[in-house]
Amino acid sequence: MNDSKVVPVAAPAASRNQPSYEIADLRAALGLGPGQPFNLGALLSNRLCEQGHGGRLALIWENHAGLRQNFTFDDLRRYSDVWAAKLAELGIAAGDRVCLFLDRVPDLYFAFLGILKLGAVAQPLFSQFMADALELRLADAETRAVITTARHVQKVRSARPRLPALAWVILTDVKPETAPTLGPGETAMNAETAPARAFEPFAASEDTPSLLHYTSGTTGKPKGAQHVHGAVLSQFATTRHVLDLRPDDIYWCTADPGWVTGTSYGIIGPWAVGATQAVFEAGFSAQRWYEFIARHRVTVFYTAPTAIRMLMKAPPPGAELLASLRHMCSVGEPLNPAAVVWAERSLGRPFHDTYWQTETGAIMIANVPGLPIKPGSMGKPVPGIAATILDARTFQPITTPGAAGLIAFRPPWPSMFRGYFKAEKTYQSKFVGEYYLTGDRGSVDPDGYYWFVGRDDDVINTAGHLVGPFEVESALLRHPAVAESAAVSKPDPTYGEVVKSFIVLRPGHAGTDELKLDIMNFVRKHLSPVAMPHAIDFVDKLPKTRSGKILRRMLRAQEWGEPVGDLSSLDD
């Protein structure tokens, strides 16, 4: 929907003046002089300790079984030092990729900071990835070490024979009685039980690589978006402005650090501000989420539209459960107007939608506090960000309000990604002239609000996670019944979009309902639940161009009830 006439939902007045986005001001607010080098891991942990605030609560952690632990910034400093020292002892060096493949346990956060202190590159991966998806990303990154737990180590072990660069697998939950089960090249480490060791942080610059986040495109394998220590300047600025986070806040970001929101705003932004983060290592349950907010007096909440739509299915909470909340934001996929209106009625305040990508590293367009919300709009560009809508054919800015085109940004900004790992040509293909192309289509209304229209490519955004059709189709080819397939997005009331596969079967296989379920489970077990097709159609053949390329856009248009466009290249 792009309706600039909708009645704005009442938004809270700006809680304070807009904070500065000037680089010098941001550096000063973080205690950095002009040009002064810094290490991101130390900035997020040691800095507050050096300022005398080491006793401040940094992390409230709770798991689904009710186990709770609190950690101060001094704990972050100490435990991340231990991790950095351990990795150095194992021969991991600056620039090496170290994968974090574990659920949201405390050691994930300590190890993340330790990797940065060492000058190595953190490669967080969603722990629900299955062996094939994991192997592909570890092989591409030539990962040197994987930090994981007993629950996920089998997936690493199954891929390891084909990962020659992988020197160490480090388990964080090995008990003395299970230690003998460790194999060659495996070791145990738990920062809370290891002896304290001081570590001198690697002398990083703003351009030193920090993170490698894998994201999906239309063609080829997932690509590793490379980020740098200096990205914290964008993340800090938007955390304190868009998320309105202050040092005395209790903040809950529901994103897993395997995805970029879980690092930019689930680790870096809030600890740069000096706020307390609450982490709930559990799955979804509306009642338990509301109780978590109440128990820890969460003041700022950042979640995803799919989670909001799942909350909408549950009974609304009692007002007392949400009494502490003062600000709520959303990210990952378009936030439908009904969700904004529902939140204001049922939760007492609206969700403020934000728009950004793995590649941009930080929020680019947002409904900042104080800006009246037009339900369904992603808001306006944040200060310092040059956003525009480009004509899809000429790549010139569109000036007509409401006209749809390509959402683009003009670099630089501190958190802009610096490349795709070993994929320079793909990186260059994301730019036209002075603009970075997001791959999304949108429009701007007369008031300057941005509206999401859809993807400009075949990537599927399901529950806020990007799925590349090529990865799904490649996995399907390994199923004995599948001759060829095409994966496209299909609208879904809960997940926004889901994967739908059109499949041509091999001779001798019948397209039964049982086979559909078997294929769904096959993708889930080989790639991830995110990539699993939610719908499957068996077809005699796939629409192709005369050169043999599958016309996914035709199948996608059918699913969305949109015009299929020019079919002159369609074969037969």
Partner: protein, 86 residues
């Protein structure tokens, strides 16, 4: 008519077999929280829903397919009973 225990056993066996990679040896009984404990991703719930629809020849409406309704085998059995499975 299958009793609740028979229904629960069929579903438990299916989950133990098909979601073994996700469960990684976690002991499972009819009251084990599946989604709220993070053992099964809420997206994985969809293939479980398809299994139930195929096995019991019914359609589970979207409004009924909540994370809470699928959070344990006991809750799933209650859902099936509500939808008329006997």
């Amino acid at each position: 008519m299958a009793d609740d225990q028979q229904l629960a056993r069929t579903i438990l066996d299916y989950i133990a077999r098909e979601y073994a990679d996700a469960l990684q040896g976690t002991p499972l009984d009819a009251d084990t929280p599946l989604i709220s404990a993070g053992l099964i991703d809420s997206l994985s719930m969809v293939s479980l829903k398809v299994f139930l629809e195929q096995t019991y020849r019914l359609r589970i409406p979207d409004a009924e397919a909540s994370a809470e309704a699928f959070d344990s085998v006991t809750a799933i059995v209650q859902l099936l009973r509500r939808l008329g499975v006997n």
